[in-house]
């Protein structure tokens, strides 16, 4: 799984940090910080959850899986 995060789109709501704290954090400016662009399999469910719960569409999974 590859994760993509776009800070220009992010509205800093922090939903991703709640859903997958191992993979997402927020920078000092409040926008998303990708801690791990290629998360291990054990985090995949949480990452998909984070993508679904992101209100702005700032995070995505460019490759299937």
């Amino acid at each position: 799984m590859r994760v993509h995060a776009d800070r220009e789109i992010c509205v800093g709501a922090g939903n991703c940090v709640f859903a997958a704290p191992e993979v997402f954090d927020q920078n000092d400016d409040g926008t998303v910080e990708l801690l791990d662009p290629r998360p291990a399999a054990e985090h995949h469910d949480n990452v998909r959850d984070a993508v679904a719960r992101c209100p702005s569409g700032a995070i995505s999974l460019p490759e299937p899986g």
Binding site: V11, A13, N15, F18, Q26, R53, P55
Partner: protein, 405 residues
């Protein structure tokens, strides 16, 4: 005095659930013409009830504007141009009534102040505030109105400290917030209370400009004072103060009542600290206290859920209905505090998604378990039928909640 305008469809509840008419619309006519309120004025608006359609509208700030143009146009037609021009909408000069690029500019100034990390730093202080209020309740003994003793003061004090608003002024700003959210008020009363709120915030902003505090308003003045005109600082301060206490307060009180009606779920939350995050998300989804958020205006001809909508039309997104859609969750009408968190829209969706969500989540995850553990025998002190609900408020909840233990 007893002027009771009919409650618009999208605001009717029984008393926790959205009325069954909304569920019927969701399957039979997911986008339909309904009535939206602005004081005594009722105007036609497209009512969007499906989860996917609601996300589509809220997720597209280009085609669906927060500027309030449609509401103004309807008020101009029903009353007159001047009343419409002076209509106090969501919060003027503030984030929630702005579209990009102005929205983007303001939101970027604020997001750093509300990150999950920052809110976690507030945790000990919020815990202390919660404990203090529970201590007072315990010392005084029941029965007590949970709204006045706990649900309202806790988030009020938190947002006052965060923003830099004197807590001593709470009786006045709580009264004004209540009135600002009341959609049955006459347009004159509505304007009067908005003007009173702005005058209050203008004075706070004036003081912060001359001597910026180490609170949020002070930080905005220090970091962005030159780019932020007074108009916007006042609008932002007013929005944060209102949104920062009314919403969480209503979640706490209405949530407590819901749990009292579901003793098995109450026991789960009280006895298992491990489920608190899921439980908070489920209470948010199930109760969805914000009926619709800002009424959107279509900026161009569009089609939603198969319905052609014209540029300039008003659109109401029913958040409670969306959150009871099968497309979001299995058995959506069941309250299940152990449910895996859903991507609900109780905090909205898209660029206006609640800025204060990390704060609200933090407050709720501290307050509910603390209340239930302090008073394991918490019970309603009046018959359920006598609990007064906030029927005409843009933010649903209870007006008072007598409890004992």
């Amino acid at each position: 005095m007893s002027r009771t305008p009919p409650v618009p469809l999208h605001m009717q509840r029984t008393p926790f659930d959205p009325i069954t008419d909304l569920a019927r619309l969701r399957t039979e006519a997911p986008v339909s013409l309904a009535e939206a309120p602005m004081g005594p004025v009722r105007f036609p608006a497209w009512l969007v009830t499906r989860y996917d359609d609601v996300r589509e509208v809220l997720g597209d700030a280009i085609r669906f504007s927060n500027s309030g143009q449609a509401v103004r146009a309807h008020v101009a037609a029903a009353v007159d141009e001047e009343t419409a021009a002076r209509l106090p909408l969501a919060a003027q000069g503030s984030l929630i009534g702005y579209d990009p690029p102005d929205h983007t500019r303001l939101r970027r100034m604020l997001t750093p102040k509300f990150t999950v990390k920052r809110m976690r730093r507030l945790q000990p202080r919020i815990e202390a505030i919660v404990t203090e209020h529970l201590d007072v309740m315990q010392d005084n003994g029941g029965p007590v109105d949970l709204v006045q003793a706990f649900a309202l003061p806790v988030p009020s004090l938190v947002i006052c400290e965060l923003l830099g608003v004197p807590y001593a002024d709470r009786a006045d700003f709580q009264r004004r917030s209540n009135a600002q959210l009341d959609l049955s008020q006459s347009l004159e009363d509505r304007r009067a209370v908005f003007e009173e709120s702005r005058a209050y915030m203008a004075e706070l902003v004036r003081r912060q400009r001359s001597d910026p505090g180490d609170d949020l308003l002070g930080a905005l003045v220090r970091e962005h004072g030159d780019e932020l005109p007074d108009e916007e600082l006042i609008g932002l301060g007013g929005l944060l103060l209102l949104a920062g206490h009314e919403t969480t307060a209503n979640m706490l009180a209405l949530g407590a009542l819901l749990l009292l009606r579901h003793p098995d779920q109450l026991a789960l939350l009280r006895d298992d600290p491990g489920i608190v995050d899921q439980a908070v998300e489920e209470l948010m989804r199930y109760l969805t206290i914000v009926h619709s958020g800002v009424i959107r205006t279509a900026t161009q001809d569009v089609t939603i859920g198969g319905k052609p909508i014209k540029a300039g039309d008003a659109i109401v997104c029913s958040l409670p209905s969306a959150n009871r859609d099968q497309a979001l969750a299995d058995e959506p009408d069941v309250l299940d505090l152990t449910r895996k968190p859903t991507s609900h829209v109780a905090f909205g969706h898209g660029i206006h998604h609640c800025l204060g969500a990390p704060l609200a989540r933090m407050e709720m995850r501290i307050a509910y378990p603390a209340l239930l553990r302090r008073f394991p025998a918490l019970r309603l002190a009046v018959p359920f039928e006598e609990v007064p609900f906030r029927t005409y408020s843009a933010v649903y909840g209870v007006r008072s909640l007598p409890v004992a233990w």
